[in-house]
């Protein structure tokens, strides 16, 4: 035996070449949603008649068990509005596929909370986009704050621990970070904060809602001080360019390498924030998920070494990696260049010189109606983030 651990390239390097199965698999079970939030990453609202059936979902769960995908992040839409939701949850758990599901809380009754608390391998994530009713409901719609708080109370009362409160950071709530932490602590929950990306209906409101440059620094500093307690997935690695300290979390774009999405009709995309034909790798219906994951040309391509383009000359490239592919794509920026929220200001420059008349549109839109309900601010549905725990946690 001659190989030593020291000679192994870093995991982040390894991840760039892809894994045999994803670590951060998001699986949306329906496009239906009881809310109609305006920056929903998956443009959800109405159910799609072609959504995977109970049996089809079970077959994919069987496959995930064989592939040793140990847990998936289930979202939507609002996944709990599927009438077979609880059946599927039990089926997954019985097949060693743990489930963390994102919900706005609509179905989390005291009874249901008790059953969830009694089930191993299930984790719940409640979306909340304001620490106050005012801020939350302005973005998520009237009644959504009370709905979320009721669900949180039910889970805590049922003895559930470490469930997640998931917050999309916006211009309106960055100042509430400490307040969010207090709410989480009060329920014995863990805080998860994610980045607002211009995906789905999020593209329509991104200009108004994404944090300012000053707020990005505020966020970075808050994360340096508190980041060990909160989950961020791969949300904020573009902020690493702000300083010499690297934030905890997954510091690379894992799309198609460690991250992917199965959407409600079985289409497989490189990332939950990239619902567009350009990032569609295939569908689970003809040959299953594994074939798509291993053999799709798109994924093979993403697993080849990438170039930094205009970022190549930037001193921060190693820690920032040029940011989020989906954010670039849906704001019309080149994929091998700076992120629209580049902390060095290169994104703003790129945005001001792009052709904004031909921005890419998502390949799926299940929005109900076409009118925006204007509440001063658009209502917002919490995107379901790909990667919840840091896959690098527990490593030395």
């Amino acid at each position: 035996m001659t190989a030593t651990v020291e000679h192994t390239p870093s995991l982040v390097e390894q991840f760039k070449y892809g894994l045999d199965a994803p670590i951060c698999l998001t699986w949306e079970w329906t496009y239906a949603c009881n809310l109609a939030c305006e920056h929903c990453l998956s443009s959800s609202g109405r159910r799609d008649p072609d959504e995977l059936s109970t049996e089809e979902i079970k077959r994919v769960i069987d496959e995930l068990e064989r592939m040793q995908v140990f847990y998936v992040n289930v979202g939507g839409g609002e996944p709990t509005v599927r009438s077979d939701f609880w059946e599927l949850l039990d089926y997954a758990v019985a097949h060693h596929v743990g489930i963390k599901f994102s919900t706005n809380g609509v179905k989390i009754t005291p009874d249901r909370a008790k059953r969830l608390a009694a089930t191993d391998y299930v984790d719940v994530q409640i979306s909340l986009d304001g620490a106050t009713r005012e801020v939350n409901d302005a973005v998520r719609g009237p009644g959504s704050f009370d709905m979320a708080m009721r669900a949180l109370r039910n889970l805590a009362d049922a003895g559930m621990r470490d469930f997640k409160i998931s917050v999309v950071m916006t211009r309106q709530n960055v100042d509430q970070l400490d307040e969010f932490q207090r709410i989480a602590d009060g329920f014995g929950a863990q805080l998860r904060i994610t980045r607002l990306r211009p995906s789905g209906r999020g593209a329509d409101v991104w200009d108004e809602l994404h944090p300012t440059g000053e707020q990005q620094r505020q966020l970075y500093e808050w994360l340096l001080a508190n980041g060990d307690r909160v989950l961020t997935g791969d949300s904020f690695f573009h902020l690493n360019a702000l300083g010499s300290e690297t934030l905890p979390g997954l510091n690379l774009c894992g799309a198609g390498r460690v991250v992917c999405l199965i959407d409600p009709v079985g289409d497989v995309y490189a990332c939950p924030f990239a619902i567009h034909d350009v990032f569609k790798a295939g569908n689970v219906r003809p040959a299953g998920f594994q074939t798509v994951w291993r053999d799709s040309e798109l994924f093979k391509d993403l697993r080849r070494p990438q170039t930094g383009g205009a970022c190549d000359s930037c001193a921060a490239y190693d820690s920032c990696q040029g940011g989020c592919m989906a954010a670039k794509f849906f704001t019309g920026l080149p994929l091998d260049g700076p992120d629209p929220e580049c902390v060095k200001g290169h994104g703003e420059h790129a945005l001001s010189t792009r052709d904004s008349s031909a921005l890419p549109k998502p390949s799926q839109d299940h929005s109900r109606g076409t009118k925006r309900v204007s509440l001063g601010m658009p209502s917002v549905r919490m995107p379901d983030r790909a990667c919840d725990t840091s896959p690098l946690a527990g490593l030395t």
């Binding site: 035996m1 030593t4 651990v5 045999d20 040793q68 743990g98 725990t389 527990g394």
Partner: protein, 97 residues
């Protein structure tokens, strides 16, 4: 903090942990505490899988014919695996089996 590893004691892979082979080695998932860890070399994966067959950790390290440097790096990796409960000390009753 990582519990100190004792070279004289036997260890094994926690039965609640599943190893998934990957190009770099393996991904370890603990079904109890839901932690994910990485074994960053295929040889380390084999070592961890067979750890429970040895009477002590020290013996397991010696049996592999490892260089001192490799031993040190294995010990570091094993300490972090022990800290997350991925490997555990063998109980007396399953030692006798």
């Amino acid at each position: 903090m990582a519990p100190d590893l004792d070279l004289d004691k036997p260890y094994r892979l926690n039965p609640s942990v599943a190893l998934r082979p990957e190009p770099f080695g393996a991904l370890a998932y603990h079904f109890g505490n839901r932690k994910l860890s990485f074994l960053k070399a295929p040889e380390l994966v084999t070592f961890v899988r067979t750890l429970g067959e040895h009477a002590s950790l020290g013996e397991a390290l010696d049996a592999g014919g490892l260089t001192d440097r490799t031993k040190q790096s294995y010990l570091r990796a094993l300490a972090s695996l022990a800290a997350t409960d991925m490997i555990v000390e063998k109980e007396r009753d399953d030692r006798d089996r």
